[in-house]
């Protein structure tokens, strides 16, 4: 169990974590969802005792992250955003190294390594150097490493960042299986909506260092109320949103009008979309024929809300996808050469 109390992390002119209070329960999969720079990774680093908070604290498995950092480290597993295994060593050697660092008792060490290798499906590649692994295999090795010492809490920082869709789905299956088999508490950060939706029991939306929404995925979606009508207008200006908003505000069944800033479509949150859609279209059409506005509708659709809509509602913008930095491979000279080339 994790309880975070009034946690603050300030850098020189930036508040990375802003008074975060959060309880994460035993055996739950908790997702931290947020755009780049929202503070997800900083929060994970603070909980994993790699970064000291400016004020406030947190308690993990009964240990204080500031005062008992060594005990916290023994009781958690963490999988970083970028693979952190030594690529000059084999998968097995990396696991051996970490089983020693975590003081896994000698008599169960080999069995534990064998078990985690099997769990992530790397048994037949265990003696290959990590630099010969694919991106997905590296991630799985990281997960195996995080599990070696049977931690009660595991942090996964963007577990599928930079993976192709197939590897991502495989990874999801591993994570899902892990949660069912190992009885652990899992905290993952992601900016993939489907990932959070698929894996998490509860989601905290984090933006600018603050938790701005906290609920189950379905709870979050229901909080939007009803359904979503998306309208593409011929005239896609910011002004059109205000116009349409003023036309529709007299209807009780319309909750909110947003502009989808990627496609320029209008996103309208309504109750009972199927029967109210004609009303809305008629209202827009009437406004067109009566006056100066030219807001003729080009296309229209309606759907149930997704986490994307939830995110849009709480932060006022869409989550943008993230480019992953190339992860250098190989030895000293290769690394140096690769660095020089950048």
């Amino acid at each position: 169990m994790i309880s975070i109390n009034n946690l603050v992390k300030k850098y020189e002119n930036l508040t990375a974590i802003d008074r975060v209070n959060l309880e994460i329960y035993d055996n739950e999969v908790f997702g931290l969802l947020g755009p780049n720079g929202a503070g997800k990774t900083t929060l994970i680093h603070i909980l994993a005792t790699l970064v000291k908070p400016t004020s406030g604290t947190a308690n993990i498995n009964g240990y204080d992250i500031v005062k008992e950092s060594s005990k916290v480290r023994s009781s958690i597993g963490i999988v970083f955003q970028a693979p952190s295994s030594d690529d000059m060593l084999s998968g097995y050697e990396n696991l051996k190294l970490h089983s020693l660092l975590y003081a896994v008792p000698a008599h169960i060490r080999e069995k534990r390594i064998k078990d985690v290798l099997e769990l992530v499906g790397l048994t037949d590649r265990k003696d290959h150097q990590v630099k010969k692994y694919s991106g997905g295999m590296r991630r799985r090795l990281e997960i195996a490493r995080g599990l070696l010492h049977k931690p009660k809490v595991i942090f996964l920082d963007e577990p599928t960042l930079g993976l192709d869709p197939t590897s991502r789905e495989i990874m999801w299956k591993y994570i899902d299986k892990l949660v069912k088999d190992e009885k652990i508490t899992l905290i993952l950060t992601t900016h993939y909506m489907e990932e959070a939706d698929f894996l998490c029991n509860r989601i905290g939306i984090i933006d600018k260092g603050k938790i701005i929404a906290l609920d189950s995925p379905s709870g979050l979606k229901e909080s939007l109320g009803g359904e979503i009508i998306e309208i593409e207008l011929k005239n896609k200006g910011v002004g059109t949103k205000d116009t349409v908003e003023s036309i529709l505000k007299r209807y009780n069944f319309v909750h909110k009008v947003e502009l989808n800033d990627k496609e320029g479509n209008l996103v309208i949150y309504v109750d009972d979309a199927s029967s109210n859609l004609p009303v809305i279209l008629k209202a827009i059409d009437n406004d067109n024929s009566s006056g100066s506005h030219n807001n003729s509708v080009k296309s229209v659709g309606f759907r149930s809300p997704t986490l994307n809509d939830v995110f849009l509602k709480f932060t006022g913008r869409e989550i943008t996808s993230q480019q992953q930095e190339d992860h250098a491979e190989g030895g000293f000279m290769e690394r140096y050469a690769q660095y020089e080339n950048k």
């Binding site: 790699l50 480290r73 050697e93 190294l97 660092l101 000293f332």
Partner: protein, 285 residues
């Protein structure tokens, strides 16, 4: 950081035997990783063995011919080693062994920048391992690799007419380990403050080469101007070169062997402490 905290981990190790066993396991793990990576990075291994040989045979032969030429021998101070029946190549041999240790140790220490760059360091620091253990594991790794490289050179020394006895070999190993511990600590201390790889060139220019050139590896130190002798005095490698020279060549050094070893040991303690303190202060991410 209070000075007492520095030795806390070790104190705990002594008090609690179970802890000691665990800590030794962690130490072994860190050392083993360094050792394996060293053996696998063939290019590094080849380069670090080849460069000293280049110095030994090209500079050794080239300058050796200048030094033995009667018209220039006063310039090179030829009488200094000529009197003891030692050629220039033999004269610089202990210096070249030291050079190999200087290069491999400082580079080894500052290699921590790469560990950080490629996130390996983060994965070690998030494990329940004390910074002191990581530091000592790394210095042991540096000492092992330096010793291995020096061993190759020592074997080549046989062909140059260097004679070893069991006792002299033992003393040579002690000096090599002292010097390499000092310089690996120095490299780790510098590396722990550096956040980017850009600084690596600076280490080569401002640390590695001065340490080498000021050590008296290539020329005798008894006839140099004051400003230069001040610089050579604060270079730990000076004492290693001097001690190795007297042990390997059987000629009297600038200082008695015990004085060299004693001063070197002070560097071991001093720079070792600085290295460990820097390591403890280092940011994890």
């Amino acid at each position: 950081m209070p000075k007492g905290a520095l030795w806390n981990d070790m104190l705990n190790m002594k008090i609690n035997n179970i802890n000691l066993e665990k800590e030794l396991g962690k130490l072994y793990a860190i050392w083993l990783r360094e050792f394996k990576v060293f053996l696998r990075e063939k290019s590094r291994l080849v380069a670090s063995t080849f460069t000293p040989l280049l110095w030994l045979f090209v500079i050794g032969t080239g300058f050796g011919s200048v030094a033995t030429n009667p018209s220039t021998n006063h310039v090179m101070g030829h009488a200094e080693w000529g009197a003891a029946g030692v050629g220039y190549q033999q004269f610089i041999f202990p210096g070249i062994v030291s050079m190999s240790i200087i290069f491999s140790s400082v580079f080894f220490g500052s290699y921590i920048i790469w560990d950080r760059k490629f996130d390996f360091l983060k994965s070690v620091m998030v494990a329940p391992v004390s910074r002191s253990t990581i530091f000592i594991g790394k210095t042991f790794g540096g000492m092992t690799t330096s010793l291995l490289q020096a061993a190759i050179l020592l074997a080549i020394g046989l062909a140059l007419g260097i004679h070893y006895t069991p006792v002299s070999l033992m003393l040579i190993v002690v000096i090599i380990l002292f010097l390499s511990f000092t310089l690996t600590s120095l490299g780790l201390a510098i590396g722990s403050y550096m956040e980017s790889l850009e600084g690596f060139q600076l280490i080569i220019s401002f640390v590695v080469f001065p340490l080498y050139f000021l050590s008296g590896a290539l020329f005798p130190l008894n006839n140099i101007p004051l400003w230069l002798s001040i610089l050579t005095t604060i270079d730990p490698a000076t004492y290693a070169v001097d001690a190795l020279r007297s042990t390997m060549l059987g000629i009297a050094g600038e200082n008695p062997f015990l004085a060299d070893t004693g001063i070197l040991f002070m560097f071991v303690m001093g720079i070792g402490t600085i290295g460990m303190l820097s390591f403890r202060k280092m940011k994890a991410v």
